[in-house]
């Protein structure tokens, strides 16, 4: 913790870390300084002039967003003088803002409305100025209505900081307008439709394209959850009304109002829960056709089959199921069905040890990020939130080294690119580290004796040696080698492609006998490693396979979408999606996050764990659902990094891009995201 500063705000004594701005410091004391353009975590720009405060000893009021706390400062946030200025600002803005709060969807959460209410301003005292700008509604995601825009610049700033760089101001003065390059509509501007601009817009100038008539803000129930669609596992807030999801926003309500990011999939993909491919009831294959049956019959039938198959049963699961589901699955397979054939899709791109050894880290504390073999990109939609997190960190004093045999989207922002073989590059770096005043264990150095170094690796080693808290984010294929860096300093983690890969492994869903590849030995870029003895294959979640594996007599698919594998199944069981279940997950940074149920499971679908418990009952066994403390304990397991493993691991056969697309195919195809596919923007 840094130096603390004592100051008085409105007579109240406040202790704040040195370097904090006045808005945040006042927030610590529960005092809100009005503002329209401030964004926590970003530099204050003083555009709106609403945050003017008076400081004793200073003649003129100053802006709070860009003023740092000083020892013994005495700040007054509500003097008559500053209130008058604020009132004037709101008065001016209102002269250009449509006063249609009666139908405006932002009503209730609109910052401008809040301040106008506070100052009792019904109407501007200035003459009304109106521009007739066209509304940009050429895409099904973001609607841009410049008539409402108050030119605060929040959207421009988030768009720039996250590197999308689509929005900027055009013109000056009263005629300024937020535009894309050449004032084109968003769908012709290179926009990725992440909707970050929607989250920060204080008024209704940027909103979800279908936001109208979906309900007033105060009618919504909000649920803090986690998006489970890719390895980023972003915090989301789901707004529901009448058991329907109305919208999803980034970040959870607590603890801060800091800006978060979710991508187009996370924000707009929720329609798949009621999409055309949803499995609503159990189905059993009779005479070559899948026919609906009752849940009771299906589970009784299945229980008998599982009992018979015993250790010839195999369980394959996606790595995006919740911890509780994973732990129940692990218990069910081991204790009830008594088979050791269990594995998850995580094993396709990572070995369980790597995910277990992956350390806990805080990305926003890292002063140096080293990406090894990872290529996150908002544009290819591979781990977009990681791309944004890195870019955001770089705009706030972070530095970046990319190590990749291919060009990556982040190369241009990195100070050093080590192109070429990743493993050689890391070894070269390690070899050079001792030249820069850092002691490295001989045990480790011995393994890199033969490595060759070049100027770039030397420089990278120098940067690494000079950093105080480096974070190494590695593709699992290179984790064993890359984590050696963390053995010297900092943290290392293996970046999974699926949201709960770490959690699923920590909960015990990992291969003990046959692996996922053995059990699923079919196409999809997988290497066939001889046939397994599995006769009854039980697929949990939307496993991205499309063919029933050879040698399997009976295939059960417990999933939410009727895609790929479900079509080939002998029995289909309807499973709840992540938006319909509660529990927890472990994100790529090792943080245990809770997932809150937002809506009721559709049709007859049930959570995975409920289905397993019922099956166990039918098989005459009792299966206990794990408690949160059990999950927490399992998630907290820490495995010490092993040193000096320089071996090259078999890389994933598929590109992350195509794998994630296969994984999220149901989401992509049965929501408005289909528009992206149809317009060639996926």
């Amino acid at each position: 913790m840094g130096k603390q500063v004592k100051l008085r705000i409105d007579g109240q004594e406040v202790q704040a870390p040195a370097g904090m701005n006045l808005i945040d410091a006042a927030e610590l004391a529960g005092i809100h300084i009005p503002n329209l353009c401030y964004l926590r975590g970003m530099k204050g720009i003083g555009a709106c002039r609403m945050c003017l405060v008076e400081v004793e000893g200073l003649k003129a009021p100053i802006i709070a967003c860009n003023t740092k706390v000083k020892q013994d400062m005495a700040v007054h946030t509500r003097t008559e003088r500053v209130q008058e200025i604020r009132r004037f600002v709101v008065d001016l803005i209102l002269s250009m803002h449509p006063l249609d709060c009666v139908t405006c969807t932002k009503s209730g959460v609109c910052n401008l409305q809040e301040y106008a209410y506070e100052f009792g301003l019904k109407e501007s005292s200035f003459s009304r100025k109106k521009f007739t700008y066209p509304v940009d509604e050429g895409n099904p995601f973001v609607k841009r209505d410049p008539a409402y825009c108050i030119l605060c610049g929040r959207c421009v700033r988030v768009c720039k900081e996250q590197g999308t760089n689509v929005l900027d101001f055009m013109g000056r003065g009263i005629e300024s307008k937020v535009i894309t390059a050449n004032d084109m509509p968003l769908h012709e501007s290179g926009c990725t439709f992440c909707g970050s601009c929607i989250d920060v817009c204080p008024v209704s100038a940027l909103r979800e394209a279908d936001r109208e008539k979906k309900g007033r803000e105060w009618e919504f129930s909000r649920h803090e959850s986690v998006c489970m669609l890719c390895g980023c596992g972003c915090d989301i807030t789901v707004s529901t009304k009448g058991d329907l999801i109305q919208k999803i926003n980034a970040g959870s309500r607590s603890p801060s109002t800091e800006q978060h990011f979710i991508c187009t999939y996370g924000r707009f993909g929720y329609e798949h829960v009621d999409g055309g491919k949803r499995i609503l009831s159990p189905m059993v294959r009779k005479g070559g056709q899948l026919q609906e049956v009752s849940m009771k019959d299906a589970l009784e039938d299945l229980a008998g089959r599982l009992k018979k198959a015993g250790k010839n049963t195999g369980f394959i699961s996606t790595a995006s199921i919740l911890n509780e589901d994973a732990m129940t699955l692990q218990r069910f397979s081991g204790e009830v069905v008594k088979t050791s054939n269990i594995d998850s899709t995580a094993s396709l791109y990572a070995r369980p040890e790597q995910l277990e050894k992956s350390q806990k880290a805080k990305l926003d504390k890292a002063d140096l990020i080293i990406l090894v073999g990872v290529n996150p990109s908002q544009w290819t939609r591979v781990l977009p939130a990681l791309d944004v997190a890195v870019r955001r960190r770089l705009s706030r004093k972070g530095r970046l080294i990319t190590i990749n045999s291919q060009e990556t989207a982040l190369d241009k922002l990195a100070e050093i690119n080590l192109n070429g073989d990743e493993i050689q590059a890391v070894q070269g770096m390690i070899k050079s580290v001792p030249d820069h005043g850092i002691k490295v264990d001989q045990k480790l150095l011995k393994h890199v004796q033969e490595a060759s170094t070049d100027k770039n690796m030397q420089q990278a080693a120098e940067m690494f040696a000079g950093s105080s808290n480096p974070l190494i984010i590695s593709d699992p294929a290179f984790f064993d080698v890359a984590s050696n860096l963390a053995w010297i300093k900092g943290q290392a983690m293996a970046m999974p492609l699926e949201s709960n890969a770490r959690g699923v492994v920590l909960m015990g869903v990992k291969s003990k006998d046959n692996t996922f590849q053995d059990m699923a030995a079919v196409e999809h870029g997988l290497v066939q490693r001889g046939r397994s003895t599995v006769k009854l294959l039980y697929a949990v979640g939307d496993v991205p396979l499309s063919k029933k594996p050879d040698g399997v007599d009976f295939l059960v698919v417990q999933s939410s979408s009727f895609t790929g594998l479900a079509r080939e199944a002998d029995m289909v069981l309807p499973a709840a999606t992540y938006l319909e279940s509660s529990g927890s997950m472990v994100d790529y940074l090792g943080q245990l996050k809770t997932v809150e149920q937002a809506i009721e499971p559709r049709g007859e679908s049930k959570t995975h764990r409920d289905i397993f418990v019922q099956l166990a009952k039918n098989m005459g066994a009792t299966l206990k659902k794990p408690t949160f403390s059990e999950v927490k304990k399992a998630a907290g397991t820490e495995v010490i990094l092993s040193v000096a493993d320089m071996s090259r691991k078999e890389a994933f056969q598929e590109t992350p891009e195509s794998y994630l697309q296969a994984l999220n195919a149901p989401v992509l195809e049965t929501s408005r995201l289909l528009w992206l596919k149809e317009s060639g923007m996926t």
């Binding site: 720039k160 590197g163 760089n165 689509v166 929005l167 900027d168 101001f169 055009m170 013109g171 000056r172 535009i179 894309t180 390059a181 050449n182 004032d183 501007s189 290179g190 926009c191 990725t192 990109s377 544009w379 290819t380 060009e407 990556t408 989207a409 982040l410 190369d411 241009k412 922002l413 060639g680 923007m681």
Partner: protein, 173 residues
């Protein structure tokens, strides 16, 4: 997909075809960009020098500059639209700037403006179809002692009447 060009495309961005930009101008543009490649905050300079070369800043050129300097096109567009110095519409070979500041206004600047508009069928800020003249009203040029003042290209003319203004312009083609 076009959008990742800013960040991943290292190759030279293809020069867009434009009828107002000759091969010679392109060479000049590339020279300017080359000189400013790693200079932070060089956009304004690049835009000004490119405008000097081409006469104005066509949208295609803004795009080209953005790609070449590896900065967002929206930003280049924002800068170009912010400064009145820059024009994204074709401009005349000769730029007439009539001062309409207080002193010039009092001494009959709008008589001059009106006469120029009538004679050459111009509006404030517009260009003759043959691109001979662009007419602009400007605020104080700091030459109040010469009021009413008028600038043709880089030359200032003071104490002018509407007739004199027209006569001066006859020499510019």
């Amino acid at each position: 997909m076009q959008q990742n060009i800013f960040h991943t495309d290292n190759s030279d961005y293809f020069r867009p075809a434009h009828r107002d930009i000759t091969p010679g101008m392109w060479q000049g543009i590339d020279r300017v960009i080359q000189e400013c490649l790693d200079v932070p905050g060089a956009v304004t300079q690049v835009l000004r020098r490119c405008q000097d070369l081409v006469g104005y800043l066509p949208v295609e050129l803004l795009d080209y500059i953005a790609h070449s300097l590896n900065i967002p096109a929206s930003e280049v567009f924002g800068v170009a639209s912010f400064y009145s110095l820059f024009s994204m519409k074709p401009r005349g070979r000769n730029i007439i700037r009539v001062c309409t500041g207080t002193a010039c206004h009092v001494r009959g600047a709008d008589l001059i403006m009106r006469r120029l508009k009538q004679t050459y069928h111009l509006e404030d800020g517009s260009t003759t179809p043959d691109r001979r003249f662009t007419l602009e009203s400007v605020r104080c040029m700091g030459a109040c002692g010469l009021a009413p003042a008028m600038n043709i290209n880089q030359t200032a003319h003071g104490h002018i009447t509407p007739d004199q203004a027209l006569k001066l312009l006859q020499e510019y083609y």
